[in-house]
């Protein structure tokens, strides 16, 4: 009866990810032929050489799509296979199918196309200048920033760049589609959004959603990259299956995946921040130029989160922030853990950094003075409730011995010329809920089998974040049975319908609540039966550790016996649960409302040591105090904080995503795109959860965990900058720049060296 723990399967090599599923008889492999330049007009496709390669080869083009050749949901700007103009390098033009992956790759390479190359734009500001946007710009305001600036003692202005980020989910994108009788298809997809994939396949194949079944098995990482962008690979596989009647597998290799799929949006932003003589923020303005890439994808939702997090954890009475979705000829940028918030938070932190230097204020004092508190309101009108900003910052200062640490670093820096240390503090405040209201719903289906074992299906996809583990704990606690009796199933559209992506950190909040509702329903039925069996009042009965309890006393009635009796009495042992996050509303016209169920708070302190000759550095220590509510599983939540921090630190200081001017990705392998490894991480990462901080707004008083801690990594950027400022730069080796310091993330060693040599100020 004891189910095998998922980790034990991983450790015996038995877990079957998509590419580990055995090939079936007659399976075909699909490899897309993609566009050779960033923008072009397709004039013709000649597949004759490919078809001559092998009898198993076939080549599908746009004209083979039986339904609508469209994947875009918010904006119809994303065809499945190009018919006419393409808008980025790596866009799918045709699909080659063959009996082996290598034959399919050879066939795709043999397809000849006739095309005209068109002029492309890759820079967000250049796109904005030519009026190339995905949707109109969006602005949020509060107070009257224009008049508030005139009252400011200090006003700082400048520019902030932040780079994109490749997901590098270790399992690449892919899908396997099986053709069923009657034109139906069954698909295993590496997706965070099985219902979204189902919808995309039904649309492109011209089928009803009931003709398409999608399953997401355990994913080898996703991080947002498989939220919207898993659909095209699944739709291509399904197209292949529909046209050939065979099972078709599409599975990208690393280079294909890096070249063809979207990443975190690069942003270029302008800020203006005004403060009074005491360092209180009076006014803030920011303009964000989001490089959205060639298609809409999730860009509007990502931009909205940037705007919602523009003020981060600070009180700003007068504010105007505007975001622009700039359409460029790069692969559509997409969801990545943090979803636009990191980009917005980085800008306000840069503005505060500039203000601290201009006003001569201590950076920590300045932040403390402006930290959000109970009674404040966010700039979109939602009241700040159950605010834990000050508690987490104070505890971080204690945990890091900040005052002593600062003094140690300063004295180290006066004693050393070629090695410098630096440190930075970063508070966070992250809103939880999808900002698109409709997405805040989820379902669950719970079966109790005759032997007492339990199966739980929800809309949540397990991708390493251990949402399955949390749902197992929730179900077991609700039913009062050992966790080992509960199995959480893979995610299937036929079990739980109309779900939304497992994203926005809401996986366990929404799906855990839905599972809880279903379990409570079944528990209620079983306790009614137990009351009749024991001649007791239902209200005084509970189920604990697999036995019915009455008051404080454990009865003889065991779970298995109760379930057995329920079945004999023809009591339904299955239940569907549903949850829609209550209390959410937002007026898009007024840009006012309460879009978030609650906020997550926390603070990080990071220290770094810099080699002042080479520009290289290492992170020494990190201290994180995080508001997790009441943790459902300590190990899971700790791992989420650590992992998100690692990705944030990678984004801030290491991961250098580069395209050339013609839209070709230069960092398209793991040998050219460096990401955090064991040696990159700080020698000591001390993570503490805020104590005594239950959250009445989420399942089992917990808080969402996935994304907020990614923001902690931004402290790494400022820790290095702090060390750089301690370097004696009175003898620059290159001609010094007269431009003001432009914040530019990631802080790579090259940029640090430029700073040291006086090229950057």
């Amino acid at each position: 009866m004891k189910p095998t723990k998922e980790s034990e399967l991983n450790l015996s090599g038995a877990t079957r990810y998509l590419d580990d599923l055995p090939a079936t008889e007659g399976m075909l492999y699909g490899v897309p032929l993609t566009s050779p330049c960033a923008r072009g007009l397709l004039r013709g496709i000649d597949a004759s050489a490919a078809l001559a390669l092998d009898a198993s080869v076939s080549v599908l083009t746009a004209s083979d799509i039986p339904g609508e050749n469209q994947l875009g949901e918010a904006v119809s700007d994303e065809s499945l296979l190009v018919d006419g103009e393409w808008s980025y390098l790596g866009q799918c033009l045709a699909l080659a199918l063959a009996a082996t992956p290598s034959l399919a790759r050879k066939a795709a390479a043999l397809v000849r196309i006739v095309y005209d190359e068109l002029e492309a734009v890759t820079d967000a500001r250049a796109a904005a200048e030519s009026g190339s946007f995905i949707l109109p710009s969006r602005t949020m305001r509060s107070g009257d920033p224009a008049s508030a600036f005139s009252r400011c003692a200090i006003v700082v202005e400048g520019r902030v760049e932040s780079g994109g980020q490749e997901h590098v989910y270790l399992e690449a994108q892919g899908a396997i589609a099986e053709s069923l009788e009657g034109g139906r298809v069954r698909v295993v997809s590496g997706t965070q959004a099985p219902s979204g994939v189902q919808r995309a396949i039904a649309r492109t194949l011209g089928l009803g959603m009931h003709d398409v079944e999608v399953e997401a098995r355990r994913l080898g990482g996703a991080f947002g990259g498989k939220e919207d962008q898993a659909a095209q690979w699944a739709a291509l596989a399904a197209l292949g299956a529909a046209r050939t009647g065979k099972t078709v597998k599409v599975y990208l290799n690393r280079r294909e995946d890096m070249n063809w799929t979207g990443k975190r949006h690069p942003y270029s932003s302008d800020y203006k921040l005004g403060l009074d003589a005491e360092g209180r923020i009076l006014a803030y303005e920011a303009d964000y130029y989001q490089n959205s890439g060639a298609c809409c994808d999730l860009s509007p939702a990502i931009l909205s989160r940037t705007l919602f997090h523009a003020a981060s954890a600070y009180r700003i009475p007068n504010l105007r922030v505007t975001g622009r979705m700039c359409r460029t000829n790069l692969p559509p940028f997409t969801a990545f853990r943090g979803f636009g918030a990191p980009q917005g938070v980085f800008v306000i932190e840069c503005a505060l950094d500039a203000a601290a230097r201009e006003g001569g204020w201590d950076p920590v004092e300045l932040r403390l003075k402006n930290l959000l508190a109970e009674g404040d309101s966010f700039h979109f009108g939602q009241p700040v409730a159950d605010c834990r900003a000050r508690r987490t910052v104070d505890r971080t200062l204690e945990l890091s011995r900040w005052t002593e640490l600062r003094a140690e670093i300063d004295s180290f820096n006066s004693a050393h010329r070629l090695v410098k240390r630096g440190a930075a503090i970063l508070p966070i405040c992250f809103g939880v809920s999808f900002t698109k209201l409709v997405m805040n719903q989820g379902g669950a289906l719970v079966h109790v089998y005759g032997d007492g074992s339990v199966s739980v299906s929800t809309g949540a996809v397990e991708m390493g974040q251990q949402v399955a583990r949390k749902i197992q704990v929730i179900a077991a606690r609700s039913l009062g049975i050992p966790e080992g009796l509960v199995r959480v199933e893979s995610t299937r559209t036929a079990s739980v319908a109309n779900t939304y992506s497992t994203a926005a950190s809401t996986g366990s909040d929404i799906n855990g609540m839905a599972a809880l509702a279903a379990c409570e329903e079944i528990r209620g039925r079983l306790l009614g039966l137990a009351a009749r069996m024991l001649g007791a009042d239902k209200g005084e009965l509970r189920i604990e550790s697999g036995f019915v309890t009455k008051g404080c006393e454990i009865t003889e009635l065991a779970w298995k016996e109760l379930v057995d009796k329920a079945h004999l009495d023809r009591i339904d042992l299955s239940a569907h649960g549903f949850y829609a996050t209550p209390g959410l509303f937002y007026d898009m016209k007024a840009e006012r409302g309460s879009p978030f169920a609650y906020h997550v708070y926390g603070c990080s302190a990071v220290t770094a040591t810099l080699d002042a000759l080479r520009g290289t550095y290492r992170f020494d220590e990190a201290f994180i105090v995080h508001d997790v509510g009441e943790s459902i599983d300590y190990d899971v939540d700790l791992g989420q904080v650590e992992g998100a921090f690692a990705q944030g630190l990678g984004w801030a200081a290491l991961e250098d995503l580069r395209y050339d001017e013609r839209g070709r990705l230069l960092s398209d392998t793991l040998s050219t795109y460096k990401l955090p490894d064991l040696r990159f991480m700080p020698s000591a990462v001390k993570i503490e959860f805020l104590e005594g901080a239950p959250n009445p707004k989420a399942v089992m008083r917990s808080k969402a965990i996935g994304e907020p801690p990614l923001l902690y990594g931004i402290a790494g950027y400022f820790a290095i900058l702090d060390a750089l400022r301690a370097v004696d730069r009175t003898h620059p080796t290159k001609a010094p720049s007269s431009a003001p310091y432009a914040y530019d993330l990631p802080m790579t060693p090259e940029k640090a060296l430029d700073f040291i040599q006086g090229v950057r100020r």
């Binding site: 723990k5 980790s7 991983n10 090599g13 990810y17 590419d19 989910y169 700790l638 791992g639 650590e642």
Partner: protein
């Protein structure tokens, strides 16, 4: 006659010992000169524990043991492994100290040693090779040895801790075996 044919086919083939069992592969049908060890293990033998993720030796997910040392199986040609002893994660016993330590890893402040699990077989095999060569490494040596493995979920603290705990298990088992009445 038959014997001669068999001998000549052996000349055009390779033998690799995989997880304790010798396997013969003929050039042509089973493999070509450019077949990688990773492909052979995954696609021909079904040992799908190892993962091909970056396919260029930069992520460590395909790590297996060759004669006890870690090799990146996506960077080794199958023919180069001729005559060698290969071990994949499927070949490690459940009570292998590294497997046990990764499974048990749960410690305040360090967390688990795996999240999505995709990199796990590679980390386990790299750690196994390190402990084969150096049963009691320092934390710095662990970081150096495992520096070529990527865990994108980022549970590095738990991984490093698990390797040190595996090292302690090896020492404890040795001590237990050496002590009178100790278990072998």
């Amino acid at each position: 006659m038959q014997k001669n044919e068999a001998a000549s086919s052996r000349e055009r083939g390779i033998r690799i010992r995989v997880n304790g069992q010798w396997r013969d592969f003929a050039l042509g049908d089973d493999l070509s000169a450019s077949t990688t060890l990773a492909y052979l293990l995954r696609e021909r033998l079904g040992f799908t524990g190892l993962k091909v993720s970056c396919d260029e030796g930069a992520c460590g997910a395909c790590t297996v043991l060759e004669d006890g040392a870690a090799v990146l199986s996506c960077m080794v040609l199958a023919v180069e492994a001729d005559g060698h002893d290969i071990q994949t994660i499927e070949g490690l016993p459940a009570d292998d100290p590294v497997v046990e330590a990764f499974a048990e890893q749960s410690e305040p402040g360090f967390g688990t040693a795996l999240q999505c699990g995709y990199c796990t077989p590679g980390f386990v095999m790299t750690a196994r090779a390190l402990l084969n060569a150096n049963p009691s490494p320092t934390l710095a040596e662990v970081k150096e040895a495992l520096g070529g493995n990527i865990c994108r979920c980022g549970c590095y603290a738990g991984i490093a801790r698990a390797v040190l705990n595996a090292s302690a298990k090896i020492a404890a088992r040795k001590a237990g075996a050496a002590a009178p009445g100790g278990r072998a």
